[in-house]
Symmetry: C2
DNA sequence: AACCATTTTTAGAATAATTCTAATTTTTAT
DNA sequence: ATAAAAATTAGAATTATTCTAAAAATGGTT
C-alpha cells in the first residue's frame, strides 16, 4: 500500500537509536531523494495508529520513534542519551497497585551513563549537579 | 528575587492539571497583564533547574509542569487527560532489576478514563480501537 | 539619595518541529 | 483504459519555544 511505510518501519526497527522524524527523513532520503518531510510524518502517524511503532517523547527534544515490543528506557540525566533496557513486565503489579485495568505503561529510568558518571567512585552518585545538568528537573 | 517565580510556582502547585507554559502564561496575565511569554519560560526553566517544579512531556503535546513530589501519572489513551496517582516508590525495586543506581524514574500508566470507557461493561476493555483513538501507539 | 553592577523583564524576531492544504502522482479495482 | 481512492509532493501555516537586545527593576555602596 503505502510506498514508504515498510521502509520506515525497517529504519525504526533496525536502529536502537530511537530516531526522530528528522533522522528517519534523512535515512529515507538516501534511497529516495525526492521524499518530503510530510510523507515521513504521514507514514509515522499511520504506523503509530496501526501499533506497528511507538512514539516516545522526552522533555525538550523532538519526538522519537521506537519498536513496539515491550521494553523500558534508561535515560541519562546529563547527556540525554536513551538506551533500551529489558525489565520484567510490570503490568500485573501496576494494575493491582493502581486498581485500574491498564492498556500499557511507559517507564523511564533516569541515571548517569558511563560517560557522564564522575570517574572513579560511582557508588555515591546520588544527585545531578544542578548547574552542570542541562535538563535536570525534567521528566519526559 | 525573581518577581514572578513564586507566583508561577503557586500556579503549578495549586492546580492538579499539570499546566502548560501557555496556561501558566494566561493565569499569570490575569494578575500581571504585561507579562510576556519569555518571562514565563525563563522562570519555568529556573524553577526546573532549582528542582522546585518538574517538566512532564507527552508525545505530541506541549510540555507540562508539575509539582516535584514523587508521584506517577494515569494517562487516558483516548482523550489524553493526565491525572495523578500515588503508587508506592519503586526506586529500590527498579534499581535491583536494572542493576544500576538510579536518580529517579518516570512512570506513566495508560488506561481509559471513565468518560472514555465504553459504557456498561468495563472488564473486557483490552485494547484501544485504533480508528477512534487519536493518539494510540504513543508513548509519552 | 545618587551611582554602578547585576538580574529580570519586555518586545519582538528567529527557530524548530509539526501540521495543513491543495495540486499532482500513483495505485487499485473495474 | 478509466474512474475512484490513496499516497505523495511542495510549500505555506501553525505551534511551541528560544534568542537577542534594549529597558526596567533591584541591590548594595558610598
Amino acid at each position: 500500500m503505502a510506498k514508504y511505510a515498510e521502509k520506515i518501519l525497517e529504519i525504526v526497527e533496525s536502529r536502537c537509536s530511537h530516531p526522530t522524524a528528522e533522522e528517519i527523513f534523512y535515512a529515507l532520503r538516501r534511497d529516495y531523494p525526492r521524499v518530503v518531510r510530510a510523507t515521513v510524518y504521514n507514514n509515522l502517524h499511520r504506523l503509530c495508529k496501526e501499533q506497528r511503532i511507538a512514539k516516545v517523547s522526552l522533555a525538550g527534544m523532538p519526538d522519537r520513534y521506537d519498536r513496539i515490543a515491550r521494553h523500558d528506557h534508561l535515560v541519562c540525566r546529563k547527556c540525554g542519551r536513551v538506551v533500551d533496557i529489558e525489565l520484567p513486565d510490570l503490568t500485573k503489579q501496576l494494575e493491582e497497585q493502581a486498581g485500574q485495568p491498564l492498556l500499557s505503561y511507559d517507564l523511564k529510568l533516569f541515571y548517569l551513563c558511563e560517560d557522564c558518571r564522575p570517574a572513579g567512585r560511582q557508588a555515591d552518585v546520588v544527585a545531578v549537579d544542578s548547574a552542570a545538568s542541562a535538563s535536570s528537573g525534567d521528566i519526559g
